[in-house]
Every structure is written in structure tokens, then in C-alpha cells.
Amino acid sequence: MWGEDDTQDVLGVLGITATANGGDLNVVYDNQYADALGTEQRDPVVRCSSADAERLGLTKKGAILTVAGTRYRVRRHEPDGTGMSRLILEI
């Protein structure tokens, strides 16, 4: 049965290391182009283990996450119910 160890194994291969509240976690980072009302944007999102998100306080709006050298605030935490979470980020 799929468990947290398996999730961490996958994130260890596909992800990069991010930091939050003094701890590290592996995340899959995406920073694709977005259009907002005709203005060009980046749409930063990370996927991580829901357990890591809970452990490092990233389920709260406004929590700080540093990834790929950029300091973001968590705009929204979206758990998928299977142990993975999507964190919608903002500057």
C-alpha cells in the first residue's frame, strides 16, 4: 500500500529542497506563465507531502516558504486527500 515513505521517495527524485520555518522539505516546483487581466505573471505552485505541509506550518495562509531562491507566502493549501498537497504561492 502506498504510504508516506513512498511519497517521500518520489519527491526525493522529482523534487527540489525548499525551506520553511527552519525545516526542509522536498517539493515539486512549478512557476509557469500566467495572464491576469492582461498583465504577465508567474503562477508559482509547489506539490509536497501533506504531512510535510502540516509539520512545517504550511497549511496556514501567509506561511513563508523559500524555494528556488525566492521567498513566497502561501496563498492557499490544497490537500488532495491522498497524502499530497498543492501550495498556491504568492510574492
Binding site: A34, D35, A36, L37, G38, T39, E40, Q41, R42, D43, P44, Y72, R75, L89, E90, I91
Partner: protein, 150 residues
């Protein structure tokens, strides 16, 4: 050039001459705006409806009076909704002052430029920054020959 386009050009010139507005003023801009390219904050100027003052389409056998709607859209990005709103309203102040300072817009055929109100600001949260747009309308009363709108 149709007088309507001359008016739009005069609006762009008035906005560019303002000391309080950004230099990113665009006529009929359809491309997206990029902060990294120095294109934000920005104001775009677009031509709107042009309605004759008289129901008959003319006020005189020699000339037509018409009211051209000019839409000035303010764009801004910032890190909070309050900051985006403040940026948009600051741009709105600048647009208003620039266009109402000389209500002829420097054109001999323009009788008046009138304040036409503004839409509710739009705020988008799709990206890393919050983005906002505020559309302001001005109505320009002008005159043209029945036979020649240039």
C-alpha cells in the same frame, strides 16, 4: 485621419505629459503587459462609441456634433489587494487631472471633455502578484464637417 483618432492621440499625449502618471501609456494596446519589461503600472487608451448629439445625426447642414467615448484603463500589480487598489486609484487621479486640465485637449474642434465615470476595479489573483484593472471613461464633445470627418 478621422477626428476621433486625433482625439485619441491627444488623450495619449495629455497622459504622457503628466508628471504623476507612469511613462507606460499605450494607444489601443492589445498585447499583454509585463512588469519586467517596464510596462507596469500602465494606462491604455482605447476608442469607444461615437454618438451624434442630435437624433438626426447632424446639428446643422454644415457640421455634425458628436460625442466620442474614450476609455482609459489603468493596470497595476502589487503584493496586496489594498496596495493594488491604491495604485489603481492613484492612476485614476492622474488620468482625471491630465484630461480635465485642458478640456479641449489642445484641439480646435473639441468643445469639451467630460468625466464619464469608472467601472468597478477588477482584481485578479491568478499569479504571484495581485493584478488590477480600472476602466475610466471620458466623453469628448467634438465637431466635424458633414462631408469630411478629418
Amino acid at each position: 485621419m478621422h477626428r476621433a483618432e486625433q482625439i485619441v492621440d491627444a488623450v495619449v499625449s495629455a497622459l504622457l505629459a503628466s508628471a504623476t502618471l507612469p511613462s507606460a501609456i499605450y494607444k489601443a494596446r492589445s498585447l499583454s503587459l509585463s512588469e519586467s519589461d517596464g510596462e507596469l503600472p500602465a494606462v491604455t487608451v482605447n476608442i469607444g462609441a461615437d454618438d451624434p448629439v442630435s437624433d438626426l445625426g447632424t446639428d446643422n447642414l454644415a457640421f455634425i456634433d458628436s460625442i466620442l467615448e474614450v476609455r482609459c484603463s489603468a493596470y497595476a500589480q502589487d503584493t496586496s489587494q489594498a496596495a493594488v487598489m491604491a495604485d489603481l486609484l492613484e492612476l485614476r487621479v492622474g488620468i482625471h487631472k491630465a484630461l480635465m486640465a485642458d478640456q479641449s485637449l489642445g484641439l480646435s474642434f473639441v468643445m469639451a471633455t467630460r468625466y464619464g465615470g469608472a467601472e468597478a476595479p477588477e482584481i485578479a489573483t491568478e499569479g504571484a502578484y495581485l493584478a488590477g484593472r480600472l476602466d475610466c471613461t471620458f466623453r469628448v464633445h467634438y465637431r466635424m464637417s458633414v462631408t469630411d470627418p478629418e
